[in-house]
């Protein structure tokens, strides 16, 4: 029997390498939960890296990680969720 109430949405922990970002905005635009936005600060090269607006909303879809052309952002499964579920292969 499947208990839908027991299923938990995955939560992701976002890691951003601010200095490698070139401010293209792909991750901000395509995050399905609007977790990111372009910050006002400048990084070392003068671009605006993303900042995490609402980390709790991140559902570990890893789209930002897949789309970033600079490999400057990636998402790991949040620690407390890892024990409870088998982690799937990365998309």
């Amino acid at each position: 029997m499947i208990h839908f109430g027991d299923l938990k949405a995955k939560k992701g922990q976002i890691h951003i390498n601010k200095d490698r970002c070139k401010g293209c905005g792909f991750c901000v635009e395509y995050c399905p939960r609007d977790v990111l936005e372009l910050s006002e600060e400048f990084n070392i090269k003068g671009y605006h890296p993303p900042l995490i607006k609402k980390e709790e909303e991140c559902c570990y879809c890893q789209l930002c990680e897949a789309i970033c052309p600079e490999y400057a952002i990636f998402v790991t499964l949040k620690k407390e969720e890892e024990e409870g579920e088998k982690s799937e292969s990365r998309p």
Binding site: H15, G23, C24, P69, Y71
Partner: protein, 287 residues
């Protein structure tokens, strides 16, 4: 340890890239980095022996890919990536050879090699990153540039007919032909995975934004705008007739998997035929 260094250890791309050469030379908003990410995901998912994968690039922006990927990689001369890959594959049939190069390199100067490798059904995968121009040299018109586009050697608009790459590959005999845009991340990954499973000449065209040159000269906005534009203007038609998938200026882009057929490769044809004719005296090759 700085946060930056701690970052390196966990980044999943780290095992796959030559991290001592990152950051790469591509412009902000360029889609090539994204295509490389999709390629990395495909490699991870197909569980291929990475020691047997070789990447060959030509010259150009996409041609720099070989320098960043941590596999046996070769950066050869302009347009000659496909025969180089042919030599690698024939000399060691266990290798899985991927040609990762741009539209100008593969079908411009390399056009002759492209059609013959497809004709022979050479068992290689060609990933053609199509940004509609010769970007590295400053944005000149290429064989894939749509009519009316403005580029530095067509400053009043392009009046030459462009290629339709899937049509060309299909006509030459490729066994797997697909086209996606850089934003179709997971579909590009899936296409590469499917192509890895196939034997024969596989061709995947990925339409990618070129911010600094194509987009700027044609007022298509910045990386985000052009990526959105490509994605929204694309229509998925799996199995579409490749004669109908040409791209007009600012027009619809038909994407999808167009061709997926089985055909014996060059080496299997060679082995079968010579075994039939010469019998036991023939030394079978590569099996």
């Amino acid at each position: 340890m700085k946060e930056h260094e701690r970052f390196e250890e966990k980044n999943p791309m780290e095992g796959f890239l030559r991290m001592d050469r990152i950051p790469h030379i591509w412009c902000p908003g360029c889609g090539i980095g994204t295509v490389v990410s999709s390629f990395a995901s495909a490699l991870r998912k197909s569980e291929i022996d990475l020691n047997k994968v070789c990447v060959v690039s030509g010259i150009g922006c996409t041609g720099r890919v070989a320098g960043y990927i941590k596999l046996d990689s070769f950066h050869s001369t302009h347009g000659r990536a496909i025969p180089f890959a042919t030599g690698l594959k024939l000399a060691n049939p266990e290798l899985k050879v991927v040609v990762f190069s741009g539209d100008g390199d593969i079908v411009g100067i390399g056009g002759n090699h492209f059609i013959h490798a497809a004709r022979r059904n050479m068992d290689i995968l060609v990933i053609c990153v199509n940004n509609f121009n010769y970007a590295m040299t400053g944005g000149q018109v290429a064989a894939t540039t749509p009519i009316l586009a403005n580029l530095s050697t067509a400053p009043f608009g392009n009046y030459e007919y462009p290629f339709s790459l899937p049509y060309l590959a299909d006509a030459c005999g490729a066994t797997y032909v697909a086209r996606w845009t850089a934003l179709h991340l997971r579909r590009v990954t899936m296409a590469i995975q499917e192509a890895f499973q196939k034997k024969g000449f596989s061709f995947i065209e990925v339409i990618t934004p070129c911010v600094t040159l194509y987009a700027r000269r044609n007022r298509l906005g910045d990386g985000l705008n052009i990526l959105k534009y490509y994605y929204e203007n694309s229509e998925i038609q799996h199995g579409a007739d490749t004669r109908t998938v040409d791209i007009s200026y600012q027009g619809k882009i038909i994407v999808g998997k167009f061709v997926d057929r089985e055909k014996p490769t060059f080496l299997s044809c060679m082995n079968e035929h010579l075994s039939k004719v010469l019998g036991d005296k023939y030394q079978r090759y590569g099996e």
